[in-house]
Amino acid sequence: MLLELDRVTSGYGRLPVLHEVSLAVGAGEIVALIGANGAGKSTLLNTVMAMVPLSGGDIRFDGASIAGAATPAIVRAGLAQVPERRQLFGAMTVEENLRLGAYARADRAGVVATLDEQFRQFPILRERRRQAAQTLSGGEQQMLAIARAMMSRPRLMLLDEPSLGLAPLMVTRIMDQIVALRAAGGTVLVVEQNARAALAIADRGYVLENGRITVSGAAAELLGNPAVQEAYLGGQGSGVRAIETSIRKKRRAILGR
């Protein structure tokens, strides 16, 4: 396995978010991590990138533990993250954004080659290379964010909500780009709220619910699994969702309705 999370617990200061989450991504796979907002999906990616401190468990990349490593070291090891809401350098040009993506690299000639590769992959970015990033449309910005992450030539790409705020047509095009990334030899862990779009391109999927993995399996199976819908909209089932039933009982007792 390229990336392994072993009973990872983490959170923001006072706020615990992930509880003993285990997950794995094999080389060449597209793995989707889905779940409703607030489930802890972004926290999981931020924990892998050491932007949220790990408070328990271990994270291994290519067999070696990266727990405790600093973010720049993790980037150099071959991970790259496309953060939620893209986090581009808005006032800088498209090309400047891309070059900053290669900040950790020392090989100048190689950087130029990678830049050309990105322009071939995303021709619209070549057209707009002198334009400020903030003037791009939402879909173009997402492409730029992906291309910028590619500039460090990562072995594993972490994508955080690439479909966020995009129209369905644009969502399809971004998902196609993710498939193309894998075809070029990449490995992708994609976090999505849009479960249908993500599972349609993924090999395997995990469902995160209130900081815990509740369902996992082949993407095609998850697409038809009613438990996935319940993870988003609730249901009066068993396990962690029994709480809804119990709250309703209390409501009848206290409010009489």
Partner: protein
């Protein structure tokens, strides 16, 4: 708590009075007594400065400007008009405070370093005015021949008598500062420093209290300026320049910014230290040693000298171990049901056509819904749906571009958060906005702000009704803590509690303002399953009091279990509304949560597509 610790404040006051009283017995010479006068004057000036800078976090650094105003008013009245020095001192206070009142509102609109620069610019204007207004001030040469200090004819020609008079005034300033510190206004200032967002949510008029502290600190500074003029027997533009502003700042930082005593202590410490260094006759080294000692004190005692002494006192007087963990059951009977509640079915909150854009993004697009009195309504939707923006529009944290929000028929869309709180709307926050610089009980007492009436004058004088109101506020705050299940946690700092308990403190604070409507932003986020269930029960208990609840929540188990009505948002628009079981069957809701492929694009999506194309 031991008996000794309970009287910490009194003991500190007594110790300070004794130390100041006996100093001239040991150093009766004219020079050391003079140094004592200078320190006393500075101590008076620091009190208001500590409240403004240390409590309310307003970086108004030009305070020496108001010493100058006091000094000049006093000197001119005494020399040119033969006023009694004490009457002139009072006149200086009035002039400084009026001037501060005029300057305060515009200057306090600025924040942080911009305010710092603006306040220094204000001081510079005072200095230039003093130099240029030659007929009045004597220009660069200043006003000479200021008489010795006197109070209504009783002369303080004796240096030691003047020394005592100066320190009595400093202690009056400290007393006023202490009265403010332990009042609702002291809490308001700390609340403003900790979180202006939360301060607004409990109805604290942020600007008003910043202005009050600016004016009070100007008055106290002017007392110091007057004393200085009588000590120097002259007033000129160089006495209270930027160097004095810097000294004042050094004094409060070394003394401790979070204690009214800190400034007085720091003023005494740096004045004494400077004289000590001067007596060593190492003129070149004086500033260097002074600077190094300042850095050392700051590194060793982040709370300044007052903080260090307080911590030492606490360590010496503490008994027993750590406080017991808080595991008390909530007491549903601790709070009375809300009275004067409109009958069920009345429209409590009505949002009509609410719209808000950020650049090209329509975060909230023409959303309308009603919240009926006595109901629990949940606002839900996927990430980026615009829930939090809508919540902020209702709470007054952001202006609407279009649309109206009515609370019991009254339009509130143009009100500020504190106005909205004062109407009886409580609020809790997703990422906890507690006042970490106060105890849990004080946090909840802040919630009573809109129900308190004692103003700055009665508080400064600590009139009996202030103590009565404080006691009533304390009782009500304890009841709110009992209600949420935090009995026994009152004296702890919020940071000592678990995340789940901290959330309960926020809820208790919102309940303390006796709201008709409570807005809760993701109350279950970050809670484990047990805490989540308890929280849901607490929300039900709140509803049982007759309080209407509007919440944003992503934990569907809570939403579906609790709510009478759901309002579902997606891409800034309302896409569904109704009872939970009906809403979760709606295809458009399912598509919004799980992805789009099953449904026709909405209007918002179509426009987004056009934008991309």
């Amino acid at each position: 708590m031991s008996a000794l610790a309970a009287h910490k404040r009194t003991l500190a006051f007594a110790a300070a009075v004794v130390a100041i009283a006996i100093y001239p017995l040991f150093y009766p010479g004219s020079y050391p007594v003079g140094v004592g006068i200078v320190a006393g004057a500075m101590a008076a000036a620091t009190v208001g400065f500590v409240l403004l800078l240390g409590y309310a976090h307003q970086l108004a650094f030009g305070q020496a400007g108001f010493l100058m105003i006091g000094g000049y008013v006093n000197a001119i009245l005494c020399v040119n008009y033969r006023w009694d020095p004490f009457a002139a001192l009072l006149a200086g206070v009035v002039v400084a405070m009026l001037l501060a009142l005029v300057i305060a509102r515009p200057i306090l609109k600025l924040r942080g370093f911009v305010l710092a620069i603006a306040s220094l610019a204000m001081q510079l204007i005072f200095i230039v005015a003093a130099i240029e207004a030659v007929p009045i001030t004597g220009g660069a040469l200043g006003t000479q021949g200021v008489p010795k200090f006197a109070i209504f004819g009783v002369s303080f020609a004796n240096e030691i008598a003047f020394y005592y008079a100066a320190w009595v005034m400093a202690f009056i300033c400290v007393g006023i500062g202490l009265n403010i510190d332990r009042s609702r206004i002291g809490r308001a200032l700390k609340a403003i420093a900790a979180s202006e967002t939360a301060a607004g949510s409990v109805g604290i008029e942020i600007v008003t209290y910043k202005v009050q502290m600016f004016v009070i600190s100007a008055g106290m500074a002017s007392v110091a300026g007057s004393l200085g003029a009588h000590y120097l027997r002259a007033m000129d533009p160089n006495v209270y320049g930027f160097a004095y502003s810097l000294n004042l700042l050094t004094a409060v930082i070394i003394g401790g910014l979070t204690s009214v005593w800190g400034g007085a202590l720091g003023a005494t410490a740096i004045t004494g230290l400077r004289e000590l260094l001067r007596s060593l006759s190492l003129p070149l080294w004086e500033s260097v040693i002074m600077g190094m000692l300042t850095v050392v004190v700051l590194l060793a005692f982040p709370g300044g000298l007052a903080g260090a002494i307080g911590a030492l006192f606490d360590r010496l007087t503490r008994r027993g171990g750590a406080a017991a963990p808080v595991t008390v059951e909530p007491d549903p009977a601790a709070l009375p049901p809300v009275t004067g509640m409109p009958p069920p079915g009345t429209i409590m909150l009505s949002v009509d056509g609410a719209t808000r854009s950020f650049g090209n993004l329509r975060a909230v697009n023409h959303v309308s819904f009603n919240v009926e009195a006595g109901s629990i309504v949940a606002l839900i939707g996927p990430n980026g749906a615009g829930k939090t923006t809508l919540f902020n529009l209702i709470g007054g944290y952001q202006p609407l571009d279009a649309g109206t929000v009515k609370f019991l028929g009254q339009p509130i869309e143009s009100l500020m958060p504190d106005d909205i709180a004062r109407l009886g709307i409580g609020r809790t926050f997703q990422n906890l906005q507690l006042f970490d610089n106060m105890t849990v009980l004080e946090n909840v007492m802040c919630g009573r702000f809109r129900l308190n009436t004692c103003g700055i004058l009665s508080i400064s004088a600590r009139l009996p009704r202030v103590a009565r109101e404080e006691a009533a506020t304390r009782r009500a705050a304890r009841a709110a803590l009992d209600f949420v299940g935090l009995r026994g946690a009152g004296d702890m700092p919020p940071t000592a509690l678990s995340f789940g308990h901290q959330r309960l403190v926020e809820i208790a604070r919102a309940l303390a303002l006796e709201p008709k409507l409570i807005l809760m932003d993701e109350p279950a986020s970050g809670l484990n399953d047990t805490e989540t269930e308890r929280l849901a029960e607490l929300v039900l208990r709140i509803a049982a009091l007759g309080i209407t609840v509007l919440l944003v929540e992503h934990d569907m188990r809570v939403v579906m279990g609790l709510a009478d009505q759901l309002v579902v948002m997606h891409h800034g628009e309302k896409i569904a509304e109704g009872a939970p079981d009906a809403v979760r069957q709606e295809p458009e809701v399912i598509a919004a949560y799980l992805g789009q492929d099953a449904v026709e694009p909405t209007a918002a999506n179509r426009s987004a597509q056009e934008h991309v194309a």
